[in-house]
């Protein structure tokens, strides 16, 4: 069988596995809904919901049936993107219309933070090379810095930014330069930039990334085949770059759940209108269809990214397909 055919089969198998995982994960979410104490419908609807809306919710979530058929009915709607209508957050609007644009912003924010983090980590690892003795002494304090949860980093950021701006306004009479394209704080990129920085610095994301990239890079530099490439007088850069793709990808996939958790908090702190912010607001107002819709979207994102990295890995590494994965 040709390599392309084997690749296609492996990709299909993984896609099927991903779909199965999505079904399983949504089942977990559904069972969680059904496990509400007392009457599930009271647990999932806001106070003072009119009876006709309650009836509609009952039907949408299949609460009037046994858990299994109820799940199937709910899944069939959900898989086609029908998560019902928002109750409180944006009453009457289909959940997908409320949630998708916000979730898109969340994805953009986390993806750019991850990419920036990756580039910074690679640059730092290249620049610093093997850890010297002096650097090893620094690891202790750095360790403390990496343990800061994203919201602590965010609070510190907000404090200092407020401080800085206040200082400018009072003492310097701050006037934005004419080329400055962003309006302060409203509808501008500034909070997004800060949110991205917070994501990178918080939850140990950067240090974690940097440490693993550096360890992988140094292991690779000392690998025997790199010595062999050197000894024959060829450039090692291409060989190292290609062999770094795999560890980077797995690192990327492994840290996605952390970033998706961090983004929820960071959006809340910087009041960015993203999926995490909507999730928390909807949860507060007990707008259940929106909460569930977002949970499914977050889960689906993790599955999709894992699937994508698996496929890229199969494309880059011939050993992956050979094992039949």
């Amino acid at each position: 069988m040709s390599r392309a055919a084997r690749l296609a089969i492996a990709a299909l198998r993984r896609a099927a596995g991903g779909l199965l995982l999505l079904v399983g994960a949504t089942f977990v979410i559904y069972i969680t809904i059904r496990s509400a104490p007392g009457d599930a419908i009271d647990a999932i609807s806001p106070m003072g919901t009119p009876p006709d809306v309650k009836a509609r919710l009952m039907e949408e979530f299949g609460l009037d049936r046994d858990p299994f058929t109820g799940y199937i009915a709910w899944l069939m709607r959900s898989l086609f993107g029908d998560f019902g209508e928002s109750l409180v957050f944006s009453p009457g609007a289909p959940v997908m219309e409320v949630v998708l644009p916000a979730f898109g912003r969340t994805l953009l924010l986390s993806a750019s933070a991850l990419v920036a983090c990756l580039i910074l980590a690679i640059l730092a690892a290249l620049l610093l090379g093997e850890p010297s003795r002096r650097q090893q002494l620094l690891t202790g304090p750095l360790y403390v810095a990496t343990a800061a949860p994203s919201f602590v980093v965010a609070v510190v950021f907000v404090q200092f930014v407020n401080w800085g701006i206040k200082a400018f306004l009072v003492e310097g009479g701050y006037v934005p330069p004419s080329w400055y394209p962003l309006e302060m704080y409203t509808e501008s990129l500034v909070p997004y930039v800060f949110a991205g920085l917070t994501l990178i610095a918080g939850d140990g994301l950067f240090m974690d990334f940097f440490n693993s990239v550096r360890a992988d890079l140094n292991a690779l530099r000392n690998a025997q085949f790199i010595a062999a490439v050197k000894a024959k007088g060829a450039r090692t850069l291409g060989h190292i770059a290609r062999n770094m793709v795999m560890p980077l990808l797995s690192g990327y996939a492994a840290r996605l759940p952390i970033v998706l958790g961090g983004v929820v908090i960071v959006e809340y702190v910087f009041t960015l209108d993203g999926g995490g912010y909507v999730l928390l607001e909807a949860a507060r107002e007990r707008d259940f269809p929106v909460v569930v819709g977002l949970s499914v979207l977050f889960t689906a994102t993790i599955i999709a990214v894992n699937l994508l990295t698996d496929i890229i890995r199969a494309l880059v590494d011939p050993r992956e397909v050979a094992h039949g994965g």
């Binding site: 025997q224 085949f225 490439v229 024959k232 007088g233 060989h239």
Partner: protein
């Protein structure tokens, strides 16, 4: 004839948990053009570190601490360690070395020499090839460096030709295979093809048969012999197996505990002529060869 490579008073040291340890202690030897020099010694005798120093690939700190290594390139003589004193500083009894600077200097010096002057085949053939590239592509990489004017198609033909010359069955199929699809012996053949396709003046084989099955080892040794008979090459063959070394080498140096204990022609060793150092005598008698008169 002046030697292609001469090593004099080479000293290599490493820092360990129990202080600094000298792994190569004032080792000296010469290698004439067209000569096969065998380096024989048990593991830990410093033979691999000596060859790594010649290649400029000593990993670990501080590494090379003294001596000289001279390569003859046509009429030029290149001292690989001529700048060593610049990075070594002495404070009383403490001798320290700026390893980062030294690594950069070695890189700059070796870059034009690697491949053209010498290249190497290592132990653990499975780890010597880039796992993400086909074997053919890696042989072609060498060919492109040795003969930059060839077209892609010519390079492909030559690569298959090289794989055939290292006695690979189905060289065409191997050309498109990845290293993990090959056995250890086949990986080592591929590695030899990669090294020879680069056309080095000196080939260094560092325990090329370690980790291979007995029958495969014999095949690899036979392959080296056949390649040497086909064309006279300068080579360093490092092994802990006295039979392999005596079979391939013209001259042998025996190392133990970081020192050279004996330098002798292979013929004299084979025939048991002359005086033997105790250690060599022991190796010879362990291999059921005439051990000659003890020194």
């Amino acid at each position: 004839m002046s030697p292609l490579l001469s090593v004099e008073d080479l000293v290599i040291e490493f820092d360990t948990a129990r202080g600094r340890r000298r792994v190569v202690d004032r080792v000296s030897f010469d290698l004439a053009p067209g000569e096969v020099l065998g380096i024989l010694g048990e593991s830990g005798s410093g033979k691999t570190m000596t060859t790594m120093a010649v290649l400029g690939l000593v990993a670990g700190e501080p590494g090379v601490m003294g001596g000289s290594i001279t390569l003859r390139d046509g009429d030029d003589e290149i001292g690989l360690l001529s700048d060593l004193e610049q990075v070594i500083s002495r404070k009383g009894k403490r001798v320290s070395k700026n390893c980062r600077k030294w690594r950069r200097m070695v890189h700059a010096r070796m870059r034009p020499l690697w491949g053209r002057m010498m290249t190497a085949v290592f132990q653990n053939p499975r780890h010597s090839l880039d796992p993400l590239m086909t074997v053919g592509a890696q042989v072609e990489e060498s060919i492109a460096l040795a003969l930059p004017d060839l077209t892609a198609a010519q390079r492909g033909e030559k690569a298959v030709d090289w794989l055939d010359r290292v006695q690979m069955n189905e060289p065409g199929r191997v050309h498109g295979s990845y290293p993990h699809e090959l056995s250890g012996g086949m990986c080592q053949r591929a590695m030899i093809a990669v090294a020879l396709a680069r056309r080095p003046k000196l080939l260094i084989a560092d325990e090329p048969t370690t980790g291979l099955d007995t029958t495969v080892r014999a095949e690899i040794v036979e392959l080296f012999r056949a390649l040497l008979e086909e064309e006279r090459r300068s080579m360093m063959y490092i092994s802990h197996d006295i039979r392999e070394v005596l079979y391939l080498a013209d001259r042998v140096i025996v190392m133990k505990g970081g020192r050279v204990v004996e330098t002798e022609t292979a013929e004299n060793l084979r025939l048991g002529r002359g005086q033997r150092a105790d250690y060599t005598a022991m190796l010879l008698s362990a291999a059921d060869l005439p051990s000659g008169a003890a020194a």
